[in-house]
Symmetry: C7
Subunit: 96 residues, 7 copies
């Protein structure tokens, strides 16, 4: 996904399908009020802005498999695929 | 657009029409609660104000094609064209 | 307007009439939820207060033609004319 | 008003009557949602507290004629006169 | 009141009765939406916490007669007397 | 209470019974909207986190008799006794 | 739980069952509005982000038995077990 660059502390994520997820052993409860979702990081921003105007490089890297809360991010569709643009701080955990 | 200069961390954006957008392969879902919009940056502010009063030059540049959330910015009409003035932080990603 | 000095980061603005505005080519949509307004800066404050107590001189200068959101500022009437006192950060852009 | 000292960034203001105001040429619209009021500063606080615990002397001085928003301040009555105690930041402008 | 020490930027205040207040010439209007109250400072905290963890000594001293907004503070009754524990910033002015 | 360590700026408090309180002369009014409560500090946290990541040792010490607002803290029951875990800043005053 | 790494100041916690809890002597009241819960820390984040972009290592360690408020954290299910991902600041106390 070379043609889209998230701004500052934002990342672009492609959701992993439900089937794939259950195979990997990770299952997310239907009843949970804040249902987390798994995805793969497609692109990361240029860095989080600090108070003095400097940039902190993001911790999350392209290719990372991440767990994030459902309400995080804005949906975009590119070439027929769904993506999410969210802030790095919306990521709950990195799965390896 | 030499005759309008956004203040500080604001940028002025011209929306890209829907037809043009779909050709480029990027399609934004109708159903999305927070529908992002694509535009071209027409003018950028003099810099974001830091806590010590200094200015951080904006990362977004004139001519950048940007993706931003629908609710961002204030509409203005100039010589019959619609523009949006928003904060740089309302930009989700830069498309290249 | 020598006899009124806005405090700190405030500026005093005189609205430009609708007729004058349309001649200049800039037209603001009636339907816009946040209708911006054009005005001329009549007086500026002594500077914005920084966290360490120092003052940052304002960027907006006396005589600047500015675009600002409708809800910004407090109305005052002086010698029969309407003015607005607003914060510099309520200014969206400077028109030249 | 030597016997009352506002605390920190607060000031004590005596409202100027409506008659006096209209003579000076400054008239405040009845219809304005946020009706500003004119007053004279009777006493000022010992300084605004900065984050490091130091004090910034107030910019507004005893005797200044100030314009302030109606909702600002707390009313007190002393020896039959009405006063307002407000924060310096509630002052919109100084009139000279 | 040696046996009670307010914490950090809090002070302990004993209200002055209405009769006593009117004698001193200061009368607080019944109709005022935010009725200020007069009291005497009985005890002060060890200092206001600054961001770096240091303490700023309070400006208000034991014995000061203070004016404060009605909603400020928490009531306590000790040996049959009513006291208020409030933050120093709830004090509007010191009366001397 | 060696087996429970509050985190950072939290403290663990055991409420003092009403009977015991009235004997000591301190009586808290039933009608007070924000009824303060007395307790004894059983355990204190490792320190309050400052912005630079350092720890400020708590001012409140194990064994202190403290006055705190009713809404402060979370209740826990341990070996049949009720305790409260609250932030140090929920403490109004230390009684000695 | 080597294959999941909480981000920044987040930790991953496995709840301790009710039976086990009552044996240990710690009982949490049903009626409490904010019912705390006990759990064991399974994984901790890479550190809390400070304002200057540096990381503060977490105080809570893998294996710690922690007490936390019920509303804290997001539920995830992994290989049939329930976990919670929460911020370190949601931890009320460490039990040893």
């Amino acid at each position: 996904m070379k043609n889209i660059k998230p701004l500052h502390d934002r990342i672009m994520v492609e959701r992993v399908e439900q089937e794939e997820r259950t195979k990997g052993g990770l299952f997310l409860p239907e009843s949970a009020q804040e249902k987390p979702i798994i995805g793969v990081v497609i692109a990361v921003g240029n860095g989080a802005l600090l108070e003095d105007g400097k940039l902190r490089p993001l911790y999350v890297k392209e290719g990372d498999k991440v767990l994030f809360a459902k309400w995080g991010g804005t949906e975009v569709k590119l070439d027929g695929k769904d993506y999410l643009i969210m802030k790095e701080s919306d990521v709950l955990a990195i799965i390896s």
